[in-house]
Symmetry: C2
């Protein structure tokens, strides 16, 4: 047997697993749609320049780059064909032709491909000339390999969404509410619960600053988690404006992101770990002390709101953040008294595009990181040249929700009933007769199946048993005559002679 496998960090989803995943995804999708979000899908591949620089250095490293086969430079051939779509080919040719230190011959083929002849230079010189020209044109010192690869698999759904909004800004109706449920790819080191291909389920609204949207998104979380049967969860809230106020308060406005990233690690490394992280980033003793004090604020929600108002009495922007939080929490609780809202001033969220309220969802009866998160961003589309479009969005962590539901046994029992009734195959005339009955049941939307050949009854029964089919029908020549078929209940073992109509009633009960 040949050794076969799938790429590390990826998964096949068997029918059993997939039914459970679809169960969750359908609930999320239905709630998104009820809340007037519209579906969107973007391609798996994006141009490399759409994605790079949007997720920090770490993100750039973890991107999966895609090559056409034709794009691979054949390293050892003296005559090379290169397809480079990210650059202007004519400029590239001019650039190389005008290089006095090279004897490369370069030109365009009839098909529009760049053809290079390299009569007597070494391979090393060859690449130096090429990458020198590319560096000059692309304005970077990217290695040749990176320049040749012009596409990458999407890393999240948010940047492609921003790219879509900017590309279609003249046709979209704003505020634009979209949901998107598609896989994303990250070349992370695979480990338990972390995969290289995984689904994201996002809902975002762009083109409005209204806090109604935050309230709606919190309600979506609440409704989805109630629908999947998760009773004990928390919607944790903070506001980036408050964190920005804290940075200002300690005189570290320029190091806001460093501070945020350090605070974001609190869950994993504890308060000492955060202090170490801050020291590494050159925060001084006094600054660290104030940050720790702030993160340790105690009291009821009301008490902490009062403290926040005092701390930021002179900081208009931070106060605005406090008021936003207060408004959203109060209105959400008015609408839904048991919404499980928690003011969490230690909540930071790693992504650097958030500017307003941030949200994270925690399941309480299980050991698990956040099962959802989101927030408001004021300038996501700015990187693509469309500034000042405020948006807010949330994301569901499908794999973690699946794990939580599995652990708490929240999936319905009947989810795995694929086939409702299997007809045993006795061959010859009874075979086609049974098949006709199967087709009749299918017109009634019953999931029926005829075992496809007349194997031994024992084998056919075993098939029904392993597939967890609840009913089996047996039609021999005798039953063909009487038109009363044997219906066997696979759980109780009970068997009855029934007409097809009676069988329908029995199955659907």
């Amino acid at each position: 047997m040949i050794q076969i496998s799938i790429p590390k960090g990826t998964r096949d989803f068997s029918p059993e697993t997939l039914r459970k995943r679809h169960y969750i995804m359908n609930i999320i999708k239905n709630v998104f749609e009820k809340y007037a979000f519209e579906p969107l899908e973007t391609p798996a591949m994006e141009n490399i320049e759409t994605l790079t620089g949007k997720y920090g250095d770490e993100g750039d490293k973890l991107m999966f780059r895609v090559l056409d086969n034709g794009e691979i430079i054949e390293h050892l051939k003296p005559k090379e064909t290169i397809e480079l779509e990210t650059i202007n080919k004519k400029e590239f040719i001019d650039e190389i032709s005008s290089n006095p230190s090279t004897e490369l011959k370069i030109g365009l083929s009839k098909e529009g491909d760049i053809v290079i002849e390299n009569p007597n230079q070494s391979q090393k010189e060859f690449y130096q000339v090429l990458s020198g020209a590319l560096d000059k044109m692309l304005g970077s010192s990217k290695q040749l390999g990176a320049a040749v690869s012009e596409k990458a698999l999407r890393y999240d759904l948010t940047i492609p969404f921003a790219r879509f909004v900017v590309m279609n800004r003249n046709n979209l109706v704003f505020p634009f509410r979209r949901y998107q449920m598609q896989p994303v790819w990250r070349a992370d080191r695979p480990q338990k619960g972390r995969f290289r291909e995984f689904y994201q389920c996002d809902a975002d609204v762009v083109g409005s600053k209204s806090l109604i949207l935050e309230i709606e998104l919190l309600n979506i979380y609440r409704e989805v988690f109630e629908k999947v049967g998760l009773k004990n969860f928390e919607l944790r809230l903070n506001n980036r404006k408050i964190l920005a106020g804290l940075a200002q308060l300690i005189g570290a406005t320029d190091k806001m992101m460093d501070m945020t990233i350090a605070i974001d690690k609190l869950d994993k490394v504890g308060i000492e770990g955060v202090q170490t992280e801050l020291q590494k980033n050159n925060f001084d003793e006094e600054q660290i002390k104030k940050i720790v004090e702030f993160l340790s604020l105690k009291g009821t929600t009301e008490e902490r709101f009062t403290q926040l108002k005092n701390i930021f009495a002179d900081n208009e922007e931070a106060l605005k953040g406090v008021k936003e939080l207060f408004f959203v929490m109060k209105q959400t609780e008015t609408l839904c008294p048991n919404a499980s809202l928690v003011l969490d001033l230690t909540l930071a969220r790693g992504l650097n595009y958030y500017t307003g309220i941030i949200i994270e969802v925690k399941a309480k009866d299980v050991q698990m990181g956040s099962i959802g998160g989101g927030g408001r961003y004021d300038d996501l589309t700015g990187v693509f040249g469309l500034p000042n479009v405020s948006g807010v969005g949330i994301s569901f962590g499908l794999d973690r929700i699946y794990e939580v539901m599995d652990e708490l046994k929240l999936f319905p029992d009947n989810l795995q009933t694929g086939v409702q009734v299997l007809f045993i195959n006795f061959g010859n005339e009874p075979e086609m007769y049974a098949f006709q009955q199967v087709q009749k049941l299918r017109t009634k939307d019953i999931v029926a199946e005829l075992y496809p050949s007349n194997d031994k009854i024992k084998k056919q029964m075993e098939y029904a048993h392993r597939k967890k089919v609840p009913f089996v029908v047996l039609i021999g020549e005798e039953e063909m005559k009487t038109q009363k078929f044997q219906l066997k209940n696979m759980e109780t073992g009970e068997q009855q002679a029934l007409s097809l109509n009676e069988i329908i009633v029995a199955i659907e009960k």
Copy 2:
């Protein structure tokens, strides 16, 4: 504005398009499930050796290869790190170390990566040594680039399915019936109607030779196309055993695939084109004459079956193919007299793994290639080391079905109603009051939306209009008091003061 775009041959699917695509996909999915097929999903990426060599040379060329960023060899550095998971690292190191013609130093880093030092050799020699070792180990003359890229995006759903079946052969219940609806990627030259990312919708059964399965799959085609409203279509049938018989008849058994590929082009190039193609492949005059004669067989289905029996009177295998076809067509017509079956002896299908009955679906009122196709294969899993597992499957061409339905205007009118009712936002107290009503409607599963800010009424109405919202509700302070809200029908312009319960009735009518 920065110039932004998406990779050529890929598409964003807007809400409007996506609703239509989902409409088709849901119909297909529901029929698949009713016919007792179980869902399966495989990863977007497969190991390169799973895919190469399965689709012919053309397929290998059109594959999108995927790199981790870390896998790109940095061409110009004297010290290199390579991640090569497809090969045994130790063997690779031994192979290079034992090469007397190189001064390369090679070893494993602490992280398990291969590290190479290249003190004084030229880059060209460096690559020659590396690719020489790789060639030797991989037993092929693949270029270095290909060896370094170890993953590719899936090219269809059939080979990943075969790979899944072999990997999970001990846990699956056979016959295994699965359906799969996922995108595939091909680096084809993009043109009208041909994309580099597109969905396939497949159903296959493996582990049974029963012709009942062919009949079921034909019924799935019939039912899906009836459900989408396509009245005029043909299910065209042939059998590869008959084509094999033809090849044997003319003494060209060894050139069966060449003949099949030539015949497959009949639709595009006509009978003269097929002759030219056959000449190119060194079929002689006499052989070509016989093939053309066979392709020109005339008469009713019955008459042609009689001719086939005569032609292949001495060829057991071909006769078996004729009988299979006859049985499947007769039984299908008995079950469903208007199944639109057509015996098409010129049908060949390009894929080389088919061995039995082959199927293609043609829409008749439009100019369009086949909108679906499939067939039986007797040894698909053999390439992965599991021989003698017969299977049969069909595929729906989603993009083409979409085009046909668009042209024939088969999509339901109400498909584009996302939001059923929009509440106008008057700010202040009416705002949150209106929001409460929206939330109440949502508990009744009505897709309701509150315009998120109190923009001018005209702008809000324009928003409702552009989003094709059928109803708008207006709640000012007066309406808050009386609890009678203004419901405006956006089509008729009619306006009424109604209670929330009356509004629910009006909307759901």
